[in-house]
């Protein structure tokens, strides 16, 4: 008896809530949405993951302090870079999707070429000192970017290959 009563009461309450809810949304829709949007903006600034953030001024920490990418893509370098990438990087990186580490496709929309070079050539120091690299380490579950001892030339070729992705 008590059980039955409880169920009935429960159903009644549910009904009330769902009705009220619907009504409420309709009624306060505008102001509520506005509120939500403001919140969203604030939230976005806080949680945009390091991998998606754009920072073209940060050059990172390491041997490369300034470099420029030519307008034209050097195909010989691309071929070499693709080969190096396959041998040295594919254990942790897929070109177009997140794997152990982030995908390199479109990297230059988010990072300076110097930063990418330094991340390849000097990862140990980067993940300790560079604010972006530090965050990336946490974003990717603490998987460290391995130092694969690439020569500067090889790393540069890998960058050229990244431009084609």
């Amino acid at each position: 008896m008590t059980k039955a009563l409880n169920i009935v009461t429960g159903l009644f309450v549910l009904l009330l809530i769902s009705c009220g809810g619907k009504e409420e949304k309709k009624k306060e829709g505008f102001s509520y949405e506005k509120k939500e949007a403001t919140e969203k903006v604030v939230k976005k600034a806080e949680t945009i993951p390091a991998s998606k953030r754009v920072d073209l001024s940060n050059k990172g920490i390491g041997p490369i302090t300034s470099m420029a990418l030519n307008a034209e893509i050097d195909q010989t370098m691309v071929t070499h870079g693709a080969d190096v990438f396959k041998k040295m990087c594919t254990a942790c990186h897929r070109t177009n999707k997140k794997f152990i580490g982030p995908p390199p496709a479109g990297i230059f929309e988010r990072r300076s070429p110097e930063w990418v070079m330094n991340m390849i050539l000097n990862p140990d120091e980067m993940v300790k000192k560079d604010p972006l690299a530090k965050e990336l380490l946490m974003e990717f579950n603490g998987s460290p970017m391995a130092n694969q001892n690439l020569s500067e030339e090889d790393a540069r070729a890998v960058l050229e290959y990244f431009r084609t992705l």
Partner: protein, 656 residues
């Protein structure tokens, strides 16, 4: 009140400490091992390097250990003649052939006398050689990688003890037999030893560029025991000297029967003369059975080849090539001074140290000052070769080393001491106790024309109360002495591993600069290497399954494998894709009947697993490699022999 008393005592102690410092400084360390400047002499601050490497044989551990001097810190154990589960040496498919012999696979050895390669009479730090006593072998360790890269078995030899010493340009590494045996081996009564057994002295050539070893010739000597040896150098380059005992040719109770003769011999072998004879076609090829094992650092794999014959030379075929120098009372160590003039015979049972002169030896040969012969080999007159003797320096002399400043240092086993004496005048300059019963001693650059002085260390056979007790078995103790002054100064005790017989030491700089940090992945020619993620696969050949696996921080690829069946022989070929210094990965699978693998960056190693139970079994990385080391794992599924589980493998399929 109590507090005041304590602080007074403290001040007094500080004062005392300062005073003792000052004293010891003024009196050149005479206040002994307690003074603080002794501690400073062996203190290597955190992050700083030792000045010398010491390579100390492991004796019955079969291996070679690497220490730093003056700190006495142990850096590494290099597996040589014994299986080493820590790295998988002798367990992995690639390294099993290193321990192959004509007697089959032998998992253990007794390593004795390391010696570093030389160029023009100076230590060059390229290779280190070491002998295996029990099943006669000589190994070569490459000091670029600190890995054993070659082992050659020595046929016709038994108790390979008067080994492995190199000539001054590493033309040869020499291996002499301790036990004489029937040559060739045959079924015969032991009592017929005398006159029938022979002792082989093997000259193993070392190719100048590659270091490849090959037995150039063996000199078949009378059936004595050949105990230790050293090369001539400088003026005596081209000769080799071996101590003998049991010239009585006893086969039983040697402790009595081999101590009958007043004098045994030092055998002087003119190897240049025999080399020339052999180069002109001399000697005979004799059927023999011995393994030659070579590790290729590009395939990361050793191969074992069985050799079928060896060139032997009877000394009587080459007149003027071998002489005996009478030396009192069962000489043990046979040591040649840096100039090559003095040959020291350390007669174990003799009261005096006997020193022969190379110049006098040549004159005695020239003047035919013979005292008879043994099996056709001329015995030179004792008085005509003797340079002098150190009178009653101690009890039980064993080995002598030199500092390059005209001094010699001899160990005395029975009286537990090292005695410093002067070459030429034979006077005793200093003596210091060792703790206890010292065997060999080493001065960096010891067996060369240019010893590097500064330190000497004694390797003791008995430890007793030197350290905290560890039950009945104690590690042996070594003692480091400063030999830069007139008097030796004991600086440090440090424990060693196994039973160190001898050690080779040298200044660290040459080795340090050449030391390799990684194996280049590009150069990896292992037939089962997976050099990138694309190469990973699982291939079945009948009941053999080959897994081409990669490791990098912090995963294996593949890490999920299915389709293994009971009765399969599963080969895990694991390639470490890292190219960074000191980032090895380990590999172990539950129920592995061998050992783990420890794979260096760029290297491929293989472990065979024959699963005995159906189930899903984990494998993991044994070397804490990264923050996600505990995540570095995988599973392999084993089905019944008649199951139809398809052979599949993957890694990270469900990732995002």
């Amino acid at each position: 009140m109590k507090k005041r008393l304590t602080s007074t005592i403290a001040i007094a102690m500080i004062f005392a400490a300062f005073t003792s410092c000052n004293n010891s400084g003024k009196t050149n360390g005479q206040s002994g091992a307690l003074s603080s400047n002794v501690a400073e002499k062996v203190y290597v601050a955190p992050g700083e390097y030792d000045e010398f490497y010491a390579f100390i044989s492991g004796g019955y551990s079969g291996n070679l250990t690497v220490y730093g001097l003056p700190s006495g810190r142990m850096f590494k154990e290099i597996p040589v003649f014994s299986q080493f589960p820590t790295s998988g040496y002798g367990y992995s498919e690639e390294t099993k052939p290193m321990l192959n012999t004509s007697h089959g696979f032998i998992p253990w050895g007794d390593s004795h006398h390391p010696d570093i390669s030389q160029t023009a009479g100076e230590i060059d730090g390229r290779f280190i050689f070491i002998n295996e006593n029990n099943t006669p072998r000589i190994a070569k360790i490459d000091l670029k990688t600190f890995e054993t890269t070659e082992i050659i078995e020595v046929p016709n030899s038994a108790g390979n003890h008067s080994s492995s010493f190199v000539t001054e340009n590493t033309e040869y590494v020499v291996a002499g037999t301790r036990f004489s045996v029937p040559i060739p081996q045959r079924d015969m009564p032991i009592k017929e030893y005398k006159g029938n057994f022979q002792g082989a002295l093997s000259f193993i050539s070392v190719a100048p560029e590659t270091g490849n070893m090959d037995i150039k010739f063996q000199v078949l000597m009378p059936g004595f025991n050949y105990d230790l040896s050293h090369p001539g150098r400088g003026k005596s380059h081209g000769w080799f000297f071996f101590t003998t005992y049991n010239t009585e040719e006893a086969s039983t109770l040697l402790e009595v029967n081999a101590s009958q003769n007043d004098k045994d011999f030092i055998a002087a072998v003119n190897w240049k003369k025999i080399e020339e004879y052999v180069n002109n076609g001399g000697g005979t090829m004799m059927p023999a059975d011995y393994a030659h094992n070579v590790y290729d650092e590009h395939t990361h794999t050793a191969t074992s080849t069985m050799k079928k014959e060896v060139r032997v030379v009877n000394p009587s075929e080459v007149p003027g090539a071998v002489y005996f120098l009478p030396t009192p009372k069962s000489p043990h160590g046979c040591d040649v001074d840096p100039s090559g003039e003095y040959i020291v015979g350390n007669g174990k049972l003799s009261a005096n140290l006997t020193v022969h002169s190379f110049t006098k030896m040549l004159a005695a040969i020239e003047g035919e000052k013979f005292d008879g012969e043994a099996y056709g080999i001329p015995i030179l007159k004792f008085e005509d070769v003797l340079a002098g003797s150190v009178e009653q320096p101690g009890l039980g002399p064993l080995h002598t080393e030199f500092d390059g400043k005209g001094n010699a240092y001899t160990t005395f086993f029975i009286s537990s001491e090292v005695v410093k004496w002067k070459l030429g005048t034979w006077e005793v300059i200093d003596r210091k106790p060792t703790y206890y019963s010292v065997g060999h001693l080493t001065i960096p650059g010891g067996n060369s024309g240019k010893p590097q002085g500064k330190y000497m260390f004694a390797m003791n056979k008995i430890t007793k109360d030197r350290y905290l007790p560890t039950g009945p078995e104690m590690e042996h103790s070594a003692q480091l002495y400063d030999i830069s002054g007139d008097k030796m100064e004991l600086l440090l005790d440090f424990p060693t591993h196994g039973e160190p017989h001898y050690a080779a030491a040298m200044r660290a700089d040459l080795i340090k600069e050449r030391s390799q940090k990684i194996y280049d992945l590009e150069d990896n020619k292992h037939p089962y290497a997976a050099k990138s993620d694309d190469d990973t696969k699982v291939v079945r050949k009948g009941n053999e399954v080959h897994i081409y696996m990669t490791t990098i921080r912090s995963h294996f690829s593949p890490d999920n494998i299915e389709g293994i069946k009971l009765g399969d022989k599963v080969y895990f070929h694991v390639t470490n894709l890292e190219q960074d210094f000191d980032v090895p990965h380990g590999f172990a699978v539950l129920g592995q009947n061998t050992s783990e693998l420890l794979i260096m960056p760029g290297q491929t190693k293989t472990s065979v697993w024959e699963p005995t139970k159906v189930g899903v079994w984990p494998f993991y990385c044994t070397d804490f490699c990264s923050a996600l080391h505990q995540e570095m794992q995988g599973y392999i599924r084993v089905s019944a022999a008649n199951a139809n589980t398809p052979l599949i493998w993957s890694m990270g399929e469900d990732i995002e």
